[in-house]
Each structure stands twice: as structure tokens, then as C-alpha cells.
Subunit: 936 residues, 2 copies
């Protein structure tokens, strides 16, 4: 019973276009797995070698109890769509008989390639024979196998057990071992009709019935607007034929063998070929257009059409010319959803970018009317500032900060607040828009009602459970053993300690960069070379930001690997939980990595400096960094700009293009260069695909985008151009990813998915955090609140005139701590008695010198009040927008309702039809009660 | 086709224990509807008479196109469970043949009771005959009917059309018109087996299969804890037999006629009687225990068992002795969920009440150690306060506020902050706990996967659409006409204007009460009677609170009626949308009504008073109210206490017990008193039930509870005893509602429901708002922050000594506005130069007299900072708790997974069984492909 269950699950995973390039377990020590590993669980390019060697020992004792889902040393992928139909019919993705199509290919490594061995193909093995002779068809082979070492033998045994179980489920197989590519075996699998049927029923797969219905064009005005929009956006639509969907739709109903009459039975073969099969397995339609991939290539994976919508339907499946009703899935729903999401995100970035640019331009336009920067730049004000560092620096004139002040205004003006509110609402709109899009796709793809069935436990988990049950000396087959919290406690503790440690590492790195800046600054100040001194600020800022960037990129990779290692240590039960835990850890680490320097800049820099005469020192004698006069916003802005641009450029170019190409080259080098061209001509499609890059899952793509989303929303108040940068990056990113998927990678198994899973939760979390972060940026990092308070509480004439003076406190230079006075007090050419510094403190001549002044507290109160108001107003507005926009688009909900009614109607008709025929053809005739007439 | 569809929907509603006491449309002008209206849509006890008279005219033109769901002048309810089995078999809920059970009864009023007419019963009418003779069985009757007035005739015609449609659906009927109760007709409906089957299949109703499985007892420790808990709570469990569920569970699967073999077919009759039927319709099991209702009465609807858990399973259905597998539904899932929710809420109130009492006791225990109140009560401090009102009042000594200060401490101490945080987390825990409970109930009740099918449009909506299409002179049958935004604009505008107006009315009422208090206060101050003057504060406070309470209770009813009227005007499409819109409006109005006075007290009172010498006046010469010295918290507390207690006592006693009893009396008075006892003996059960109160839906119950939840969470920082009051009320409320449901009301139709719908959203919203409200109460209403700031910033010795002095500013009495000085300046016996008032302002002798001082701004900043920290920390903690507690209890998710596997296993076995039998009994034999063996 257990076996049944397991095989069943395994079956489902495959047929259900189920689990993606599911790795069915490896045991690769000398062998290199030819496939990259599960799409769900794999991350990055690491090899998936987590089942340790001693599995072997257990397998021997317990060969029947082994999870049948372990197919040793194997990888699974789908046959890639041919882009050109080869002349040789042998190269077609068919079994040797030319009849049965290859639905899946499993590959495995054979250590000692039996080059002399002939191609062996068997379509179904029989149970019980295995134990007597491992390969009954070929006695010669059996003899040869005895010569293989123990390990290879064990692998083969387990493979055969696995194959047998597949057989038992009704799948048909053909083997092709070490034929043309030495050391690689292929197991081609064909899913016959009845298996497809059965699994489709178990999965309650929604299938289109014979009944078509017209999609109502909607009510008057809405329809006209829609038509107009369609006309306007027509040039933006990719040139693919999927407009058929718009007017007519097949009523779909969960497939059931008893209700076959609902589905088009006229041509049984073509029905399943074109419909069920394409939804369950992935096959190449006999009469398919030869250039399907070409369409994708031209209408999707090309930079020249960057302005067009993506053909999302196509990415999921091809409509094909002759198997008209439905096409084949190309990448499946999961990949389709990623690109749809990326598309929606990019599309939504357009208004954000436009508004951001307008806000920036507003800043540019008003820079000359900005009273504070005018006051700073006015030579007549002649304000003497206190020195920026001890001893080496001297007094300086505020007018020298003129440039920075003017630049600051570009990002710190009244429009910024508006933009922050706009972006918070934008994030909500984006989430809502995506929910609706997802719902629409679910409906179009017949995924409504699809329930993600829990996948079976991972091999590693099973292995741990087995080890545990062995230790306990219980029967290993009780099945009641599971990993409890106690078992996992060491792993959990390690994870917590490790995560905290890594966060501290991140903080330490930031602190290190700060120290670097402080010390370099001091050193440069000390240096006597005048050119150095003049460019001090710019040099330090730039090198600091670049160092930060490099560290971020390096640590990104390190953290990714550590998160992976920690998750493996945790031994999650299922692939889904593995993926979620991995994503969660990676997200926390990468996020902390990317944002700690920015958070430091935004909220801590320049706040913990003390005051003249009482500075705060770190590491002995280094004074903490100060901000430029116009606040830290400018530096935050530079940091954000460099991080975003640098990260995107480097990661896109180096990691997404460069490294995969390098790997491909390395893979191909293994094959003799000479034979390569020759091979290319004679190789089967699946053999060619062997040399493509492995599909490593969508997680790195999502992660990259989510960090970018963080940059766009979290600190948008300080950098209105962030959406523009993101937009430009994403336009390239879409086509880059598309190219990668179409040409560079092995085609992943189509995976059903209803939503983008944990990523949605993370996005939601980010957009919530963004509200509070922006509130703090506006009220604490920018000078918005002080300006406002000055204008309405202190300004004599209600303008900002005098604001600069108001923000500067007085310091009596005689009160410098001994040894910190400037070495050149007469640097400016006159004696300074009182210098100014940016803070709200009482002057030296008040009763409470250098205490925080009344203005300080009033402004602080205003800052906090602003945070409360901003946070709650924006949250309320977000919730309102959320509530206002229905999650299910109106037309879709109407259509769903209509479909439901049509189904009931269909059944009622059928019902009445049955009544007339009555006992005729009813398989289990039900005595209809004769209706009693009047009783009285 | 349209007709089919409509009837179909109507059918569903009934059979699906669908729509509750669904009102199938009234046309009652002279006639009083005997039933109260739809449970879903009815609210309060108003009659449901919204289809206007001129429906008639349309019906004439369009008698076939009329919605078949209109059953004129009728109400629908279920036969109440007999509590005693009558000796006379005729009194049983069976048709005249004694075979077919009555599943539903429809009643309607006959204007001119044909008392001479014999009881007429026909089980199925035939189409087409109606037009020639309306009642073919009885020509005498037909003649008599011609004498009935036009209206009655029209009604009868429409009823008959409706009956015909029911017939067409396969339902069987028996009529019983004006037999024993004059003027009332009964239409008894029986749902035969095949109809039940069909509808069960359409609805994908999950039915228990033959396959039972053992519910695994879980892992070691958890199970032991569970066992222990069961033992401990054993005396709290109601004495009902439903422990069978615990160990074994029937595997359930959506019912399908093709898969009948999965369900127990051995005794087909009893299978459907005990299983399908009980889930679809509501029947009385033949061999039922006679005292089912008695169990409910004794083990649920009794005050003496207030400490016990509710038998939620029983409320939903009865397990019965002989139809063992499943019982009948008593109130169905929707009512079951309400009581389950109420139970969870009450249970969760226990820890809240306990902690609340502890916090209160902590306040009591520390009242003597409280430095600020000690300082106030210390005669030696001799602080002279400024007068409380102009002219009439004089200076007073702070020591006279001693009592209030001590009382304040009970509710305003350090523990309050802890309690507010605790309650915010408590609210989250409660929501989580309820989600889990709901999930568990869904699983036990086989509701997982149940989808609420959209119900058909309301009669009023259809009528409006019809009117619209007639106006447009389109064919009224196109069906494409619907109400657009334009049609609804007037209604929407009215609603918005009306809602805003009503909110303003609420504000005006509060302001009115404030004015009352201010003027009475002034008047009493002016009065020369010394007893008056001494009790001024107490008198004004108490009368104010009582007036508030009375206004709240009266306006509650008014707002309820207005909300209903507005919703009817809106003409929502479906009952569900009607209910949601009604609830939403009622919630806003009732919530504003209940909380505006409290919000005023908490946040506005005592803040807008100005300062001595510059008071703010309203209505000419009334100074705004001040708070007592120790803040407004005490008064807020009194208001909350009176509102909660008064509202609950009055509403429970008067509205929930008194008025229904009165109505019942009135209903029974219609029948001759003499005949009544006689009738009671001979009446059928359904005829007796006619005199019970109508079931008006659960919304008033929910609304009451949600307002209470608001009281408990929103201002809990000011009144830690609120949970205790709520707990005491709810313990009574549960049993009160239970009694009402069991004995007072007509038994509602069992309605399927998966969740508590919009109420959950409202609860969530409230618990979110509660966080911010409590943050503000703590930081602004209580003295928590000023105390903290004083202690850490200003106190010379780090204690609260000197705090009272610190909070009081100085006022030079020579600066009173002319005419506002006290008339008796020497009231205290000495000349006053400088009086004190509670505020943070600079003293008269500073540079900026009477300006807000530095302390004011510092404390304000601290207050705001506290709000931010509190809000975000609590929100974060809530989210964390939310994330920590899985929505689906572990054991349930394990069991669901197990069930899914078992189902697949079952099918696989069946599959293999089929293969052996192969072409034997397969109804639509499918040629299994012969498996090709080795190909090479």
C-alpha cells in the first residue's frame, strides 16, 4: 500500500506537469549529475548532492522500502521543442516504433560507458524477474554488469526498481544508454492514454468540454472603452494568434472518465492528443508548425520589441495550427506567472517613473527659487561654521556648501512628500493590479479551483526519518516516525545563531566602511597636498559607495550559499517547504545586506556626532561622520543610485549572461571538438538538449526583482528617479530572461501554479514597511518638517527667509575641548569667536547653554506627529484602495458565474434526456419513483 | 432556458439547506405575511414588504416571464423537531399517505378563508392544464375562486405557476389550505430521492463514503497533553454523545451518481434517509429519539450549565440513535458557526478578564504608594488652583481633588500599558484562534472545498431591471439588461448624503450633551443651595452619562431602520450583497453612535479649554469642559462602564426577551382563546410552529457582539474591567440566545456556511484600529508619558516626587479677562496672587509668559514617539503571532492530507479491480491498449 501511494505521488508529480524539473534523488559521488536538480528546490548553479553516500547501506537492507521516487543519478527534463524539423525521422521525439511519443526524458550517468553495447530499449519491464536477472533482455549485458563496481551496481538496482514502479503505474519506457554521448544514459518515457485519463481525474484537472459559449462583450460604455483601448494598444500587442480566446470559450469541467460524453469524443485519439495530454504531459503535436519556438523567439525574446506586451499565453503554451483546440505548454503556468508578474511590475513602473521624473524636474525648476539654498549661497550672509574635524580642519564658510545645498533641493522639496504618498498608493495599486491579473490568468488557464496537492516528502527528509527509526530500533516501516521539534532543535539553534551572526557581520561591514570613510577623511585632511584636500568629500563618498557596492555583491553570493546550507541542514519535509524556508532566509540576508548601508545613511549618519566641544568619538579618536549642511538626503541619494545601477549592471551582465555562457562552454569542451559538428547533425533532440544549461528555478529572478522593488518603494522619498532606473533595467531584464529561457536553458517541465506564492507575501510586507520607512525619511532625513515648522511657527513673515540661520546654533570657540581646537584658527583670515553648527541648541549665553532648545523639541514633536499622520493616512488610503478594487475582475466573475450556470444547465438537459431513455442505457439503473398523483 | 435556470436556482436554495428561511417574494397588501422574511436579508422585526403593488401589472403582461421564485405571500420554514411523539399518526410530519416526509412547509395567507372547503391535497400538478382551469381537481373550488377578488386571484395564479415549476424540478407537494387555522394555507413539500441525488451532485456535496479510517492519535507528547486536557475539561463538556467522531471518521467525497458504489449502497433507502437527505434537506428520522430537542434544551439552552462548553455539533445537527451514521441538521452550519464563534469569544474573554482584574487589583494595591496622588492629598503642599468656571467659581485647593486622583490611579498606572499591549495581542490571538476553530469545524462538517454558489438575484432587483427594460422599450426578456452605476447614482448619492448627515447628527448629539453638561454645571455653580454645589461634579457626570446611554439606545434602533431603508433603496443584486451592504451601513452608524461620546471624552475633552485669562468659549459664554486634575481617564472610565452595562442590560432584557414575548402574545391573540387549547392538541407540528416568533437572522446578534468587542478592545487602556463585564454578559448571552433559538423562534432552515463572512473583516478592522486608539489613549489621555518624562528628564532624584508641581503652571490673577474674575476671591480665606492650572506653560515672569514651555514640547514629542513605537511594535507582534500560529491546525492538515491519499488509494484499487474484470461490466468500455513488450 505504501508503495502504491509513493509511486502514485511520484506519478502525479510527473504527469501533472507537476513538480517541475523534479529531481528524483541523486546518489552521485563519482558521477556528475547530468541534470541540475529540481527546479523547485535548486538555487543558483550548485549541484544537488545532498543525499550522503551511506544511503546505500540502508537501501541494501531495505530495498523494497526505499522511496520509489529515487531514480539514482538522474535528472528529468522535457524534450525541447524542435525549431527545425529534421529530415531523419529517427531524430523525432518518438520511441523506436515511431508511434509513441516521448513525453519525458530521464538522464543518468554511467560510470564506465559500455561503448560497445548496442542501444537497448525496453518499453516495460516486469516485476519479480529483476531479482533473478537484472537485465533479462540481454544476457551479455548482465555479464558485463557484474564487472561494474559495487556502487554502479547499486545504482542500477535502484534505477531498475524505480523503473519497475513507473511501469506498474502504466508508463511505457525506452532506454538509450551511452549511445552517442558516452557516459550518459537516457530513459525515455511515454504516458499512455489511460494513465493520462486516470491522473487527470485524480487531479480533477479542468478540461474544456464540447460546449462552447460566447463571451458576452459586456455592457455599453465599458465595452466601448475596452475597444478603444484595444485599438490604441494594438501596435503594442505581440503578433501572435490568440484572439480566438476573446469571443468564444470552451466550458471547462473537471475531467472524469464517467463523464466522457461531456468532452469531445468523436475522435478519441486526437481529443487526448490535443487536449488532455497537452494539459497533463507535454508532447509534440504530430502536425505542429515547425517554427513554434521561432515565434517565441521573435515575438518575445528580442530586445527590438521591448515596447510590446509579452505573449504570456504563448509562454505558457503554444496554440498550434492543426491540433487547434489547445496547444502544448511551453514553459507552463509557473514560468508564465513569473513573466506575467514581471510584465505587470514593469508596466506599473511606467507611471511611477513618469511621476518620479516630474518630481525631479520640479526640483530642477524650483532650485533657483529655493530660499534656503539662496541664503546659503548668498555671500553676504557670511556665516562661519565650526570645523568639520579636530585640529586638522579649520573654520569654514557656509557659502562653500552652496553646491550641495542646491543639489539637495533636487531631491528634497515639497513634491517629495507627495511622491512618497503616491508611491505608497502605487505599491498597493500594483499588488491589487497583480491580484486581478493573476485571477484573470487563472481563469483563462482553467486554474480556478486548482488545489496544490501536497507533494511527497523530500528524499533527504525520508533519509533522516529512516535513520531516526533505525536508531530507535523500531521497524523502519511503521511510517509513524517523523521529525519532531526535538530532532530539529540543533538545526534550528544553528540557524538562529547563524542568522544573528550574519546580521551582525552585515552591521560590522557597514561599520567598517564608516570607519574607512572617517579615517580616510581624517588622513586626507591631514595631508598637505592641496588637490587632495579640495576633492576630499567627493573622493570619500565615491570610494565608500563603490566599496559598499562590491561588498554587497560579494556578500550576496555568500549569503545565498549560506542560506542554502542552513536550509539543507534544517531538512524540511517537502520541496515546497524547502523552497519557502530557503527563500525566507535568503530574503532576510540579502535584504539586510542591500539595505543596511542605506538605513545607516538615512537614519544614523550625522545624528550621533555630539556637538562642538563635546563630540562623540569612536575607536579612540575618530569623530563620527557629519552630513553635508543640507542633510544626509543627498548622500543617501548617491548611495541608492550607485547601488541600484551597479547592482543591476554587474549582476545582469556578469551573473546572468557571462557565467552561464562560460559554463556552457565548459560543458561542451568535454565532448571532442572534432566530433561535435558531426554529432550535432545526428543527435536526437533530447541528446542535444543535454548540453544546454540547467534550469535553476525562478527564485534568483524573483529575488533580484524583489530587492529592486524594495529600492523603488522603501527609500523612494529620497530618490524619485529610482522607478525610472528600475523601469529601464526591467525592460532589458524581461527580454534577457526570455532569451535565456528560450535559447540558453534546458526547457523546464511545465509546472502548474496558481499564484506566485511566498513572493506575494514578501511584496506585501515590503510595501507595508515602505510606508513607515518613507514616513521616517521624510520627517527625519529630509528638512521638510523643520522648514514647515519654521514657516508656520517661527518665521516673522511666513516665508522661509531666515530658515538657515534658524537651523544653526552658536558655539563659543573658547569652549573647545583641549587639543581639539583647529590648528589654523585664522584660516579664514579673521579671528573667530563664535562659530555655528547645525543643531537646535541653546546659545552659549542662555541659562542652559548647549541644551536642546524649545525649537528642537517642537520640531521633534512635529516630526513624530508627521510620521503618525503619514503612516496612518497612507495605510488607510491603501486599505481603501485595496477595498475599492475588487480582487476578481468584474467580467471574470460574471463569466465564472455564467459558466457555472451553463454547467448546471448542461447536466439538467442530460438528466431530462436520460429520463426519456429511462432504463435503456443506464449502467446502474435507478428505479425512478412513479410520481404519485393526487391523493385526496 | 431562462426558466429552467431560475427554477434551478430556486431549487438549490431550498434543497441545499440553502438560503435559510428564504422569502420567495411577497405581495402582501391586505394580507399579512405569515412568515417574517428571509433569514439572510431580514433584520429586526420589520415586515418584508418591499415589492410594490404594481408588480401585479407587470405580472399580467408577463406572467410566464415572472421570476418563478416568487411565491406570493408566502414564508418558508422547516418543520420543527417534535419534542414529544404524538399518539395520532396524522400529526406526524408526513404527507397524507404516511410515507413521504414533509421536508419544507410554505405558508401563505388566504384573504377569504374558504372555511367550508375541504382540505385539498395534490402531490404534483401538470403543466398546461392550469390555464384552462386553475384547480382541476375540484370544479366547485374553481367556481368559488372566481368570486375571490382580483388580487387574491392574481396571487393564486402566481402561486400555482411557482408550484408548477417546483413540480417540474421533481419536488412533490401537498396543499393544506385554511384547514385548521383560518386564513393560512400550507404547502408541504417533499423532496424525493432522485432530486436529492441530483442536487447533491450539482452542489458537489461532500458525503461520507463507506470507507472509514482511524484518526491517528498524534505523536507522543502532544497526545498526552491532549488526553490530560480532555480529562481536566471533562466536567465542562456537555453530556452528549459525539465522541464517536474522535476515533473514526468516514472518508468523505463529493457525491456523484456515477460513483454510488463508493457510498454505502446496501440499504439504499436508509442510506439516503440517514445521509444524503439529512445533508440536503432536513427530515425527521423515522426512528428518531423523541426527545432530541430536549437534549439541546438541557445541555445547551440552560443557564445552569453556563460553565460548560456548547454542544456545537448538536446545534448543527443531531446524532440520532438508529439512523446512526449522521443525524439531522438542527440549525445548520451558519447558526452553528455563530454559536461556535460566540463560544470562542467568550472563552477567550476569560484570560482577558483575569488579566484585567489583576491589573485593576494592582492599581488598588499600589494606590497608597502612588507618589502623585500622595502629593495631591498632602495638605502641606497647599496648592491654590485657578477657578473652574468664570465668576461663580472661586479658587480651590488641590487637596480637594484627592479622591479623584486616588481613583484615577486604579485605571491609570504602569500596568495599563502592559494591559493595552496584552489586549492588542489578545485580539490577534482571538482572530487566529477563531480561524483555527473555523477550519476545524469546516473539516469536521465536511465543508472543506465547499464553494458558496452565487445566489440568484433578489426579486426587487429583478423588478427594477424589468422596469428599466420596459422603459427602454426593449424586449423584457433579453436578460442583458442590468442596473448600471448610472441607474444607481441617485441611490448612491442619497446614501452618501444620508450617511454624512447621520454622522453629523451623531456629532451634534454629542455636542448637545456637552452643552447640557456645561450649562447645567454653570447653572448649578450659580445656584446658592450648598448641597447642590457639593455634588455638582457627580450629578453632572452621572446624568450626562445616562442621557448619553438613552440617546445611544434610541438612536441605535433609528439608525438600524435608516440603514435598512437605505439598503433597500440601493437595490443590491443578490441577498448576499444586500446583507453585506446592510451590515456595513448599520455597522458604521451604530459604531459611530456608540463610540463618538467616548472618543470625545478620551481625546477632546479638556484639551480645547484655552488657559486662565484666555479661555475658549462656546455658544457665547460657556467655557469648555475641563477634566478633573488627574486627567480625563476617570470620566472616560465611568462613561464606558455605564454604556457597557446599560446597553447590555437594557438591550438584552428589553429587546431580546421582552419584545419577542410581547409579539408572541399578540400573534396568539388572533386565534380564539377558547379554541386554543383544543387546537394545540390537534394541530400539526407545522401549524403549531406558525405561532412561534420568526427567525430574523443572526445579524443583530453579531452586531451586538461586535460593538461589545469594540468596547473591550478599543478603549481597554482606560478600563481594564471591560473584558470582565463582557465575559459576564456573554455567559448569559449564549444561553439566552440558545433559549430563544430552541423555544421562541420558528426553526430556521439550515444554511451552509464556511465562515462568518463580513463579520470577520469587521473584527479584524476593529482590532487594527484598537492598536492605534489604545496608543493614543495611553499617551494622550493618561498621564503615563508625562510621568515617564518627568522621571527620566526632570526629576532631581529619579522619582516622581515633585511631579504634581511640575504639571502645574502659574497664572497671575491680575491677568484675568475683565468680568471673569471670581466673585468671591477670598473664598479660601486668603488673598490669591498666583493660582495654578494644569498645563505646561511658561510662568508669568518668564520672557514668554503663558507660551507653551520646553517641557510641553518635550512631552509632546515623547507622546508622539510613544504612539509610533507602540503602534508599530504591537502591529509587528500581532503579525508575528499571526504568522506563528498556522491557520490550519496541524492535526487537521495532517488528516486532510491523509484523506486525500486514502481517496486516491481507493480509486487505484478500484482501477485495478476493473482491469481484472476488464470488459465485463464497464458501461462504456474503453479499449485498454495492450502493453507493448520489448521492442528491441
Amino acid at each position: 500500500m505504501k508503495g502504491d501511494d509513493d509511486v502514485n505521488t511520484a506519478m502525479k508529480d510527473e504527469e501533472a506537469d507537476g513538480s517541475g524539473e523534479k529531481l528524483l534523488g541523486f546518489n552521485s559521488t563519482e558521477e556528475q549529475p547530468s541534470g541540475p536538480g529540481g527546479q523547485d528546490s535548486m538555487w543558483g548553479n550548485e549541484k544537488y548532492e545532498s543525499v550522503p553516500l551511506d544511503v546505500k547501506g540502508i537501501d541494501e537492507d531495505n530495498s523494497k522500502g526505499t522511496r520509489d521516487s529515487l531514480y539514482p543519478g538522474s535528472a528529468l527534463w522535457k524534450t525541447r521543442q524542435l525549431d527545425e524539423r529534421p529530415k531523419d525521422s529517427k531524430l523525432w521525439p518518438y520511441f523506436q516504433d515511431g508511434q509513441r511519443r516521448i513525453d519525458y526524458v530521464l538522464t543518468y550517468h554511467v560510470q564506465k560507458p559500455p561503448s560497445t553495447r548496442k542501444q537497448k530499449s525496453h518499453s516495460c519491464c516486469l516485476r519479480r524477474k529483476r531479482t533473478s536477472s537484472p537485465s533479462r533482455e540481454d544476457p551479455e549485458l548482465a555479464a558485463q554488469e557484474q564487472r561494474l563496481d559495487y556502487h554502479e551496481d547499486d545504482q542500477r538496482l535502484r534505477r531498475e526498481e524505480f523503473e519497475e514502479n513507473l511501469c506498474e503505474m502504466g508508463l511505457e519506457m525506452e532506454k538509450d544508454e551511452g549511445n552517442k554521448i558516452p557516459g550518459v544514459g537516457f530513459l525515455k518515457i511515454h504516458a499512455p492514454w489511460e494513465v493520462l485519463c486516470r491522473e487527470a481525474e485524480f487531479m480533477k484537472l479542468k478540461m474544456p468540454t464540447i460546449k462552447k459559449y460566447e463571451v458576452s462583450p459586456g455592457s455599453g460604455i465599458a465595452e466601448k472603452v475596452n475597444m478603444f483601448m484595444q485599438k490604441v494598444t494594438a501596435p503594442l500587442q505581440p503578433k501572435v494568434v490568440d484572439s480566438q480566446m476573446e469571443n468564444e470559450k470552451h466550458l471547462s469541467y473537471p475531467f472524469s472518465r464517467e463523464k466522457q460524453h461531456l468532452f469531445d469524443l468523436s475522435d478519441r485519439n486526437s481529443f487526448f492528443d490535443s487536449k488532455t495530454r497537452s494539459s497533463i504531459g507535454d508532447i509534440d503535436c504530430v502536425h505542429a508548425e515547425p517554427n513554434d519556438r521561432k515565434i517565441l523567439y521573435e515575438e518575445w525574446a528580442s530586445y527590438s520589441i521591448f515596447y510590446k506586451y509579452q505573449p504570456i499565453g504563448l509562454i505558457r503554451y503554444y496554440p498550434d495550427a492543426e491540433c487547434t483546440a489547445r496547444g502544448r505548454k511551453y514553459f507552463g503556468e509557473k514560468v508564465g506567472l513569473y513573466f506575467a508578474w514581471l510584465g505587470v511590475y514593469t508596466q506599473m513602473l511606467i507611471p511611477a517613473a513618469v511621476v518620479g521624473v516630474i518630481v525631479f524636474l520640479y526640483g530642477c525648476a524650483t532650485v533657483d527659487d529655493n530660499i534656503p539654498s539662496m541664503e546659503i549661497c548668498d555671500e553676504r550672509n557670511n556665516i562661519t561654521m565650526c570645523p568639520m574635524c579636530d585640529r586638522a580642519c579649520s573654520y569654514w564658510k557656509l557659502v562653500t556648501a552652496c553646491g550641495t545645498a542646491r543639489a539637495s533641493h533636487l531631491f528634497d522639496n515639497a513634491a517629495t512628500v507627495f511622491f512618497a504618498i503616491f508611491m505608497a498608493l502605487w505599491a498597493t495599486m500594483f499588488m491589487e493590479h497583480w491580484k486581478r491579473r493573476q485571477m484573470r490568468l487563472n481563469y483563462i488557464w482553467d486554474m480556478t479551483g486548482f488545489e496544490d496537492s501536497e507533494s511527497h516528502p523530500r528524499a533527504e527528509y525520508e533519509f533522516r526519518v529512516m535513520k531516526k527509526s533505525l536508531k530507535k530500533e523500531q521497524s523502519p516501516k511503521t511510517g509513524n516516525v517523523k521529525l519532531t521539534c526535538t530532532d530539529r532543535m540543533p538545526a534550528y539553534m544553528t540557524i538562529i545563531v547563524m542568522m544573528i551572526f550574519l546580521i551582525f557581520v552585515t552591521l560590522a561591514i557597514v561599520f567598517g566602511v564608516v570607519l574607512y570613510r572617517v579615517s580616510i577623511m581624517t588622513a586626507l585632511h591631514m595631508s598637505s597636498t592641496p588637490t587632495f584636500r579640495s576633492n576630499i568629500r567627493a573622493t570619500v563618498k565615491t570610494t565608500g559607495a563603490v566599496i559598499n557596492l562590491i561588498i554587497i555583491i560579494i556578500m550576496d553570493e555568500v549569503y545565498g550559499a549560506i542560506a542554502r546550507w542552513l536550509t539543507i541542514m534544517e531538512v524540511p519535509k517537502t520541496d515546497k517547504s524547502f523552497e519557502e524556508r530557503l527563500i525566507f532566509k535568503t530574503f532576510i540576508l540579502k535584504f539586510a545586506n542591500a539595505f543596511t548601508p542605506i538605513v545607516y545613511l538615512a537614519f544614523f549618519r550625522g545624528r550621533l556626532i555630539g556637538r562642538p566641544g563635546k563630540y562623540i568619538y569612536v575607536m579612540g579618536s575618530y569623530r563620527m561622520e557629519e552630513c553635508a549642511h543640507a542633510g544626509c538626503l543627498m548622500e543617501l541619494c548617491i548611495q541608492l543610485c550607485i547601488t541600484m545601477l551597479g547592482k543591476q549592471l554587474i549582476q545582469n551582465n556578469l551573473f546572468e549572461i557571462g557565467i552561464p555562457k562560460l559554463k556552457k562552454l565548459l560543458r561542451q569542451r568535454k565532448i571532442d571538438k572534432k566530433h561535435q559538428e558531426e554529432l550535432n547533425k545526428t543527435l536526437h533532440r533530447h541528446e542535444k538538449d543535454h548540453f544546454l544549461g540547467p534550469f535553476v528555478g525562478l527564485n534568483p529572478e524573483y529575488m533580484e526583482m524583489i530587492i529592486q522593488f524594495g529600492m523603488v518603494t522603501l527609500f523612494v522619498a529620497s530618490f524619485p528617479l529610482a522607478p525610472l532606473f528600475a523601469l529601464l533595467n526591467n525592460i532589458i531584464e524581461i527580454r534577457l530572461d526570455a532569451k535565456k529561457f528560450v535559447t540558453e536553458l534546458r526547457r523546464p517541465i511545465a509546472v502548474r501554479a496558481k499564484d506566485i506564492g511566498i513572493w506575494y507575501t514578501l511584496l506585501r510586507g515590503l510595501s507595508k514597511v515602505a510606508v513607515i520607512v518613507n514616513a521616517f525619511v521624510i520627517s527625519f532625513t529630509s528638512d521638510f518638517i523643520p522648514r514647515l515648522v519654521y514657516q508656520y511657527m517661527y518665521s516673522p513673515d511666513g516665508t522661509l527667509h531666515g530658515f538657515v540661520n534658524h537651523t544653526l546654533s552658536y558655539f563659543n570657540v573658547s569652549q573647545f575641548q583641549p587639543g581639539t581646537e583647529p590648528l589654523e584658527p585664522l584660516h579664514l583670515g579673521y579671528r573667530v569667536d563664535v562659530c555655528r553648527y547645525k543643531d537646535y541648541r541653546d546659545p552659549p549665553w542662555s541659562d542652559t547653554p548647549y541644551e536642546f532648545s524649545r525649537e528642537f523639541w517642537a520640531i521633534l514633536a512635529a516630526r513624530f506627529a508627521f510620521v503618525i499622520v503619514f503612516q496612518n493616512v497612507v495605510m488607510l488610503m491603501s486599505d481603501f484602495v485595496d477595498w475599492l478594487i475588487p480582487d476578481i475582475p468584474k467580467d471574470i466573475s460574471v463569466q465564472i458565474h455564467k459558466e457555472r450556470n451553463l454547467i448546471v444547465e448542461l447536466f439538467m438537459k442530460e438528466e431530462q434526456g436520460k429520463k426519456y431513455r429511462n432504463t435503456m442505457s443506464d449502467p446502474s439503473p435507478q428505479p425512478l419513483r412513479s410520481r404519485p398523483s393526487s391523493q385526496a
